[in-house]
Amino acid sequence: MIRSDQILDTVAMIQKENLDVRAVTLGLDLLDCRGATVHETCSRIQAKIRRFGAGLVPTCQALAEKYCIPVINKRMAVTPIAHVCAGFDRAGFIAVAHALNDAASEIGIDFIGGFSANVEGGLTPASRALIAAMPTALVATQKVCASINVGSTRYGINMDAIVLLGQTIKALAEASPDTGGFAAAKFVIFTNQPNDNPFMAGAIHGLGQPEAVINVGVSGPGVIARALERRLEQAGATQLGLHDLADEIKRAAFRVTRAGELMGKRVAEALNIPFGVVDVSLAPTPAVGDSVGEILKILGVDAIGAPGSTAIVALLNDAVKKGGSFASQSVGGLSGAFIPVCEDRELANAVRDGSLVLEKLEAMTSVCSVGLDMIAIPGSVDAATIAAIIADEMVIGMINNKTTAVRLIPVPGKEAGDFVAFGGLFGESAILPVRNAGQSARFVNFGGRIPAPIHSLRN
């Protein structure tokens, strides 16, 4: 029998600390959906999404009700569309985006990821057509999310693609001026993109995955923050070292992950689809008390971005992984602490107050998941500068054998210090200044590739 005090702790965790399952994502292979024409391919894709996905939302709802743990997002990730639709032109890819969007709407999921290509070694006509289709496709659809993998530790970084994507990000934002450039928030650029990540915008069902799989993203900044506060209150700050606090984070991460593992397995059983991984990412929401930034403050910096912030993020990220990996049968995806600025109230406030700047965010992403995420920058920043920011972030991933990502929103017509709101889980933020904009064009215009790193002489 579980002790009463443990039960009361857990009830508090669920009721007051925002414990939820952030995402249940059904990964689905679409390689067998290719038809002779665009139309036939679209029909097959929709039929397959319906066949595997129709039960996802009702099943998640029923289990959320049974276990009284909310499942915030129900999503699908599909085979990168550049693989499925190679040979299609731009119009063909736009038609496929609509087909994905319609099928996603029909089965009631929140997002569908996989309007994607891997161009780490070079661009194919298919990946070019997909990238060219992106501004129209992402503005005209609501649920489709896009991602491009531009590099890896093994193959280096495709700078030509980054140049193109710098322009694409601008085009995405400029094509959606009424929503603050929101189309750019549905697109993310990766190095070392995982094949099993349940989080948007970067979820894909990579090659080598089974026909269908259920992956789960857990929640938790609120739970971790409250656990730390309780520990500090009980023991007193002077009695605790950082190792004690790391241990507390580990325990809380274990519990959060277990709840996700349980829900994921139950969903998978009910749908008769194999269970894949739990992504033990600490993903914040704009809700008060569900912030990674808040954890940084609890762990001792009065302003987020102050010296010490990077060390704290490193400690947090590692403790979350340690706690989560024992809790789950298999951990995968991005797994770490996210610092998506707009989606995290405390981080957004730190940007507004000027304590958190782009360069510090970049430093923090070298020790945590996942990258420069959901950062609103001035709409006037040029494409070459955006490409150079992407390049900086991608090499952090390449050199350190980790996943890094960039999701920037150059908000049309807004300048540093202005404010933008995207609504819902996407949150809001002040526009972050980009210092030294317009100084990187010569570097970017070299294009070509940044070679893969050597794996000895590690310094």
Binding site: M1, I2, S4, Q6, I7, L8, T10, V11, I14, Q15, E65, K66, Y67, C68, I69, R255, R258, A259, E261, L262, K265
Partner: protein
Amino acid sequence: MATNQFVISIMSSDRVGIVSDVASQISALQGDIADLSQTVLRGYFTMILMATFPEATTTAAIKAQLTAISAPDAPALEVTVLPVGASALREEAVAPENIYILTASGGDRIGFVATVASFCAKNAINIRDLATSVSAGQYSMVLQVDLSRCASVRSIQRELKLFAQQHEIQLVLQHNDIFQAIHEINMPG
């Protein structure tokens, strides 16, 4: 050998050696202990057990044997002995599916437990295990409950919410698997 089954309950202020004394006396009567549960609450010992005895053993004989237990400075044990029909020994298995944990907390008052228990009774919720505690004027109850007689969890949750508002008690119903997953090394099956 034909046997008779009895349920025996013991209550006493707590001291070292009660279980040893009771078990020895049952053995002396050739009794075989099956299920047993004991707990100590604020210095008071209580135990309930099932045992089988040779057919000739009477209720009075068992009670006499156990009441005779003595220890220096300790009063005799309060003993109740009841013969049990075979039908009552059926173990009623509840599917893990239907086991939930209900927690109730609120300001300490007369009738707190009665209020919560009346909700359970009215809604066909069977209480399998219950522990309560008071701390700083806050009363907390943790109940393991069986919902197999209830129509749907959704309707229970709705009723619970209404009831909680009416009575100013915080009531939370969660599936038992959640607690097992979060607090035990093994995942629920």
